[in-house]
C-alpha cells in the first residue's frame, strides 16, 4: 500500500490522546450533592490501572477511529501492476507534432514543449517509429519514419533533436486542423503493420488554433491523438488587432486608426495603454490611450493619427505580460498607379463618344489611381508612355508604325482593348492581329441587337457569373462591326449577339491579349456605357490587363503579397528586418511574409509598402480543451489524454490517478464513522453501568 499524503500518517500519534485520557481518571462533569464539604479536600485526577482495564474496549475503538481517520487522510492506494513494457509489443508508430506558432513565444512554453518532446524521444522503445513535424500555418517535416529507422537505436533521439536546433517559434498562426490531417495521412500510409498509431500533439493548444478542416475530415480508425498541452507561466494574454477598412472606402479616413484590444478569459490584467509607438517600438511616441478591458472581452479603440505622423508605423499595447502580440503595424495603403493609354481621335467633351465615359468610369480609389493618357492616332507617342501603359484602348485606325508598336507591347504582355467606332479601323485590326484576311463590316440591325450568348468563364465576364448579375439583355446595341470569317483558331468568343455574330472576342497575341469589341460603349453604338454593368466590366478588364490584384485589406503573417504583373526585371522586396529579396519577373506573389512589419515592395517611385500583422487568432490564448478535438471526431488516447500531466515514468501510472480510481479514503471514512457509532453505543452503556450507586434525594 502506498500513500499519496504520507505526512498525514503523523496524525496517528493522536492515538496517544485516548490512551492518556483513559489513564487519567475521568474528570467528570457529574455533580454529586453532598451535605457538607467540611471534611472533604480536592483530589487531583490520577492514573489508575483500574480504569484502563475497565474501558479497554472503548480505548481500542477510539484508537481505531483515529487510526482509520489518519489513514484516510493519508490517501492510501495500491500501486497497479506496471503496464507491459512497450518494447515487448510491435512498437508504436508516433507522429510528433510540435507547435511553432507565434503564441508559443509566450514565457516558458517553447522550453517546456521542447523538453517534453525530448522526453518522448528518449523514452521511445527500439521498436517504436517516430516522425517529427513542426507546424504553424505550414507543416514542416523534420524527421520521417524512414530517417528515424535508418540510424541506430541509440542515436535516434539525438538525430530528432538535432533537427530542432536553432528552431524557435515563428510568427505564423496555429493551424492544428491541417497539421493533424497531415499527420494522420502520414500514419495511414503504412496501414496494416499492426503497430499502435498515435499522434502526439505538443503545443499550447489555444483557442485560436484552427480546427475547422477537421470538420470535413473523416478521422481514420486506429489513430489516437495525445494532446500534450504546455501552459505558460502567465496564463492571461491581451492582444492588439488592426481593424481593417474596406479597400474601396474613401480616402482621407486615415486620420483615425481603429484597433481592437482583446483580453483572454483567463487574464489577470484589465488595464492597458494603447498608442503610437516610436520608431524602435520601445515606447510611446504620442500620449497613449488608457483602455479597460475585462477578461474575456474586447474593446475597440480609435487612435488618432498625428498630423506629422512621419515614421509612425506601429501601434503598441502596454500592460500585457506577453509581448508577442502587442504591436500592430499600420501603413496606409498607397493607391496603385494605373496608366491607361487611349488612342482615338474623338473629343473628350463629346458625350456621344467612348472617351467621355471612360474618363468618368475610372475615379481614383484607395486601391488605385488611374492615369488616362489620350493620344490622337497621328500624334507622336513616347515609347515609355506606351510601355508604361497597363492597357491600351484603340478606337480608331492607327498609323501602321503605331499599330506595330502596339502589337509589340501586346506581345510583351500588355492588353489592348480594340473598340472601333467605325469600320475604317479594320486595317489596324489586321495589323494588330497579324491577320491580313480579317475584314470588318458594319451591321445595323433593324431594331437593336442584344447580347445573346456570354461566356462567364472568361475573366472579363467572371464577375457577372452570379445569376443575379448575369442579365445583359437590358443593353441594346444599335450597330456593331462584324468580323469576316474565319476567325483565327486561337480567338475566343466571349459574347455573341442574338444574331450569332461575335460581340466580344479575346485574341491572344504573344503574351498579351487583344480584346475586340464589335460594338463600342458610346451612345452612338449602344446603351452599354449607361448600364450598371459598364464600370464593373471595366475593372474586370483592368484586372485582366494585369493591374495589381487587390491587396488583402490587412495581410497577415504568411499571406502572400501580390506583385505587379508584367515586370521585366527583378523585383526587390525589403523585409521588416532590412534584408532585401530580389524576385524574378515571373514571380507573381511574394510568400516570404514570415514576420510582422512593413514590407517595401519594389523600388523607385512605384514602390509600395504593406503592413503585415500577426494573425489575431493567435491572441486567443485561452486553453482549448481536448474535448474540442473529440467533438470534431478526433479519437483521443483515453489513457494519456491528461493534458498537463507532470512528466513521470510512463510505466508507472500517476499516483493521483491510481488513488483517484481506487478512492480507498471513502471506505476508511465510512469505517471511521462506523467505529465512532459503536464507540458511542459502548460508551453510553458503560456510562449507565458505572453511574453513581448513591443518589441524592431532595
Amino acid at each position: 500500500m502506498n500513500f499519496l499524503a504520507p505526512l498525514f500518517l503523523l496524525g496517528a500519534v493522536a492515538i496517544g490522546g485516548p490512551i492518556l485520557f483513559h489513564l487519567i481518571r475521568r474528570t467528570t462533569r457529574e455533580r454529586t450533592p453532598f451535605s457538607s464539604l467540611l471534611f472533604l479536600q480536592p483530589t487531583p485526577p490520577r492514573l489508575t490501572k483500574k480504569s484502563r482495564l475497565e474501558h479497554l474496549l472503548l480505548l481500542l475503538l477510539r484508537a481505531l477511529a483515529l487510526l482509520l481517520l489518519t489513514l484516510g487522510f493519508a490517501r492510501p492506494f495500491f500501486r497497479q501492476p506496471e503496464a507491459p513494457a512497450p518494447a515487448a509489443g510491435p512498437g508504436t508508430r508516433t507522429v510528433l507534432l510540435l507547435d511553432t506558432s507565434a503564441s508559443m513565444r509566450r514565457s516558458g512554453l517553447w522550453d517546456d514543449a521542447r523538453s517534453r518532446l525530448a522526453r518522448h524521444l528518449r523514452e521511445a522503445a527500439p521498436a517504436d517509429q517516430i516522425a517529427l513535424f513542426t507546424f504553424d500555418r505550414e507543416i514542416v517535416s523534420k524527421l520521417s519514419f524512414t530517417q528515424w529507422q535508418s540510424v541506430p537505436v541509440g542515436e535516434r533521439a539525438a538525430l530528432a533533436l538535432a533537427t530542432l536546433d536553432g528552431l524557435s517559434p515563428g510568427w505564423s498562426s496555429t493551424r492544428v486542423g491541417p497539421a493533424l490531417i497531415r499527420a494522420a495521412e502520414e500514419l495511414t500510409e503504412d496501414e496494416g503493420t499492426g503497430q499502435r498509431r498515435r499522434i502526439l500533439l505538443i503545443g499550447d493548444l489555444q483557442e485560436g488554433a484552427r480546427l475547422d478542416p477537421l470538420q470535413s475530415y473523416e478521422w481514420p480508425k486506429g489513430i489516437e491523438v495525445v494532446p500534450e498541452a504546455v501552459r505558460p507561466r502567465n496564463p492571461g494574454n491581451a492582444g492588439l488587432q488592426l481593424v481593417a477598412e474596406a479597400p474601396d472606402s474613401d480616402r482621407g479616413t486615415g486620420a483615425v486608426v481603429r484597433v481592437r484590444v482583446a483580453n483572454s478569459p483567463d487574464a489577470r490584467k484589465e488595464q492597458f495603454q494603447v498608442g503610437w509607438a516610436n520608431a524602435d517600438g520601445t515606447g510611446f511616441a504620442t500620449a497613449p490611450t488608457d483602455v479597460y478591458v475585462p477578461p474575456g472581452q474586447g474593446r475597440m479603440v480609435a487612435i488618432a493619427t498625428p498630423t506629422n505622423a512621419v515614421g509612425l508605423t506601429r501601434i503598441l499595447l502596454r500592460g500585457d505580460d506577453e509581448p508577442f502580440d502587442n504591436t500592430v503595424f499600420v501603413y496606409p495603403p498607397e493607391p496603385a498607379p494605373l496608366d491607361l493609354l487611349y488612342l482615338g481621335s474623338e473629343s473628350p467633351a463629346d458625350s456621344h463618344q467612348p472617351l467621355f465615359f471612360l474618363r468618368r468610369a475610372l475615379p481614383d480609389t484607395r486601391r488605385q489611381t488611374v492615369h488616362l493618357t489620350v493620344r490622337k492616332p497621328g500624334e507622336t507617342l513616347a515609347t515609355e508612355t506606351l510601355a508604361a501603359s497597363r492597357m491600351i484602348v484603340v478606337t480608331d485606325r492607327l498609323p501602321d508604325n503605331l499599330a506595330d508598336a502596339v502589337r509589340g507591347r501586346m506581345e510583351a504582355g500588355q492588353t489592348v482593348l480594340f473598340a472601333p467606332t467605325g469600320d475604317t479601323a479594320g486595317a489596324t485590326l489586321q495589323r494588330l492581329l497579324g491577320h491580313p484576311e480579317l475584314t470588318l463590316g458594319e451591321v445595323r440591325p433593324p431594331t437593336y441587337a442584344m447580347l445573346g450568348e456570354l461566356d462567364f468563364r472568361h475573366p472579363m465576364l467572371a464577375p457577372f457569373a452570379d445569376p443575379r448579375f448575369s442579365d445583359f439583355t437590358k443593353i441594346h446595341f444599335w450597330r456593331y462591326r462584324k468580323l469576316g470569317e474565319p476567325l483565327p483558331a486561337t480567338a475566343q468568343v466571349v459574347a455573341r449577339f442574338d444574331s450569332g455574330a461575335p460581340a466580344w472576342i479575346d485574341f491572344p497575341v504573344g503574351r498579351g491579349h487583344l480584346l475586340f469589341l464589335a460594338s463600342g460603349w458610346g451612345p452612338d453604338d449602344s446603351q452599354f456605357a449607361l448600364s450598371s454593368k459598364f464600370v464593373p466590366w471595366l475593372y474586370s478588364l483592368l484586372d485582366l490587363a494585369g493591374a495589381a490584384a487587390p491587396p488583402s485589406a490587412n495581410p497577415l503573417v504568411g499571406d502572400p503579397l501580390p506583385l505587379p504583373a508584367g515586370r521585366t526585371t527583378d523585383f526587390a522586396v525589403r523585409l521588416p528586418d532590412g534584408t532585401v529579396t530580389n524576385l524574378p519577373p515571373a514571380t507573381i506573389r511574394f510568400a516570404g511574409t514570415l514576420q510582422p512589419g512593413i514590407y517595401f515592395l519594389g523600388a523607385g517611385p512605384t514602390a509600395t509598402s504593406v503592413a503585415v500583422n500577426l494573425d489575431p487568432a493567435e491572441s486567443r490564448t485561452a486553453p482549448l480543451g481536448p474535448e474540442e478535438l473529440e467533438r470534431l471526431g478526433v479519437r483521443l488516447d483515453p489513457a494519456l489524454s491528461t493534458a498537463a500531466a507532470e512528466p513521470k515514468p510512463q510505466a508507472v501510472p500517476p499516483a493521483q490517478e491510481a488513488e483517484g480510481r481506487q478512492k480507498l479514503w471513502r471506505w476508511l471514512l465510512a469505517g471511521t464513522l462506523a467505529v465512532l457509532l459503536i464507540e458511542s453505543l459502548v460508551a453510553g452503556r458503560t456510562a449507565r453501568q458505572t453511574s453513581l450507586p448513591v443518589e441524592a434525594t431532595s
Binding site: R25, R26, T27, T28, R29, E30, R31, T32, P33, F34, S35, S36, L37, L38, F39, L40, Q41, P42, T43, P45, R46, T48, T690, S691, L692, P693, V694, E695, A696, T697, S698
Partner: protein
C-alpha cells in the same frame, strides 16, 4: 430490660428505617415506633410504667380550692390538694435542625426525615408519659417555636410543625442554641437533633450555657451512611448542599482523609458532651428508631441512677 431491644433486633422484629419512612404520617410513624418499642420491652406497655408520681398534700389556706381532691375528702373528710400532672411532669424541648444539609440522604430517605421521625417518636413517647413537649426548629436561626405543653392537640400541632417543609439554607448551630437558652427558661430536658456538621468548638459555648442553666441535654447526631462511610465510588464534583460550593473529589483517594476528619470531629463532640454531662447519641439513618429510643431511655435511666435528676421536677422512670 436490655435484652429486649437487642433480642428484637436480632430477631428482625424491629421496623427498619426505610420501612418506617414509607409511612407518610409522621404521627403514625412515631406511634409505630413507640408501640413497637413497648412491645419489645414489655408484654403490656400500659402496666409497670408509672407516669410522674402524683402527690397529695394537706390543703393550706391560699391553695386553689379547685385542686381539692373531693374523693379523698369524701373518704377521709380531710382536705387534700392533688398536684396536677403538668406541674409535676417533665418539660422536654425538642430542638431539631431543619437546615439544607439535613436534606441529604442516600438510603431512600433524608436525614431530615429521620430526624423528624425521631423527634416525633420522642414527642409521642413523652406525651404518652404525660410530659410536656416543646419544639424548636432552626437552621441558621430559630424558625419555629412551640412551648412545652401537654394538652390535647398539642402533639398534633407539633407533628404538623415538624412536617412543614424546611426553608433554611445554612446551619448555624451556635446561634440557635444560644437562642434556645434564652427561650427555654424553665429547666427541663432539651433534646438536640442535628447532624452537627459544624466545628465542635462553635457549639461548645452554647451547650455549656444550656447545661449550666440546669437543663438536661441529650444530643442526637443524625448521619447518613454515605456521610459516615463515604461509600462513593466514582470521582465527581461534590456540591455543598448549603452554600453550593463545589469540589472535585475522587472518593477512592479522599475516603481515608474524610473518615479520619469525621472521626476526629465526632470524637471532639463526644468528649465535649461527656465533659458537660450530655447524653451523646450518634445515629445512622439506616438504624431502626426503636434502638435510638431504647438508647435514649437506657441512657436516661443510667443518668438518673448515677447523677440523679438534674432538675427538681419529674423525670422518666424506666
Amino acid at each position: 430490660m436490655n435484652a429486649g431491644p437487642n433480642a428484637a433486633l436480632a430477631s428482625g422484629s424491629l421496623i427498619s428505617a426505610p420501612a418506617l419512612m414509607a409511612i407518610r404520617s409522621l404521627e403514625l410513624r412515631a406511634r409505630a415506633v413507640v408501640e413497637g418499642f413497648w412491645s419489645g420491652i414489655h408484654r403490656s406497655p400500659h402496666h409497670g410504667f408509672s407516669v410522674e408520681f402524683t402527690e397529695y398534700r394537706q390543703y393550706t389556706p391560699g391553695d386553689d380550692p379547685r385542686h381539692l381532691d373531693w374523693r379523698v375528702f369524701g373518704r377521709t373528710d380531710r382536705h387534700y390538694i392533688k398536684r396536677f400532672e403538668d406541674e409535676t411532669n417533665l418539660r422536654c424541648h425538642l430542638v431539631v435542625d431543619r437546615s439544607r444539609s439535613m436534606d441529604f440522604g442516600s438510603t431512600g430517605h433524608s436525614k431530615a426525615d429521620y430526624a423528624n421521625t425521631l423527634a416525633a417518636t420522642l414527642a409521642y413517647f413523652l406525651h404518652l408519659q404525660g410530659d410536656a413537649i416543646g419544639l424548636l426548629t432552626f437552621d441558621e436561626v430559630v424558625r419555629e417555636y412551640l412551648p412545652a405543653r401537654h394538652r390535647a392537640g398539642h402533639l398534633r400541632h407539633l407533628m404538623h410543625t415538624l412536617e412543614a417543609p424546611a426553608a433554611g439554607h445554612a446551619t448555624d448551630l451556635a446561634g440557635p442554641l444560644e437562642r434556645t437558652a434564652e427561650i427555654v427558661r424553665k429547666r427541663g430536658l432539651i433534646v438536640l437533633v442535628s447532624d452537627f456538621l459544624a466545628p465542635a468548638t462553635a457549639i461548645e459555648r452554647p451547650l455549656t450555657r444550656l447545661a449550666a442553666a440546669g437543663h438536661e441535654l441529650a444530643v442526637f447526631q443524625v448521619l447518613d451512611p454515605a456521610e459516615r462511610d463515604f461509600g462513593f465510588r466514582d470521582p465527581s464534583v461534590f456540591e455543598d448542599s448549603e452554600d453550593g460550593r463545589t469540589l472535585y473529589v475522587d472518593p477512592a483517594a479522599a475516603r481515608p482523609g474524610y473518615l479520619d476528619r469525621l472521626a476526629a470531629h465526632n470524637a471532639s463532640l463526644r468528649s465535649l458532651c461527656e465533659r458537660l454531662g450530655i447524653g451523646w447519641h450518634p445515629l445512622g439513618t439506616d438504624r431502626p428508631l426503636e434502638l435510638a429510643l431504647f438508647d435514649f431511655v437506657q441512657n436516661r435511666s443510667r443518668r438518673g441512677r448515677r447523677t440523679g435528676r438534674p432538675g427538681t421536677q419529674g423525670g422518666i422512670a424506666s
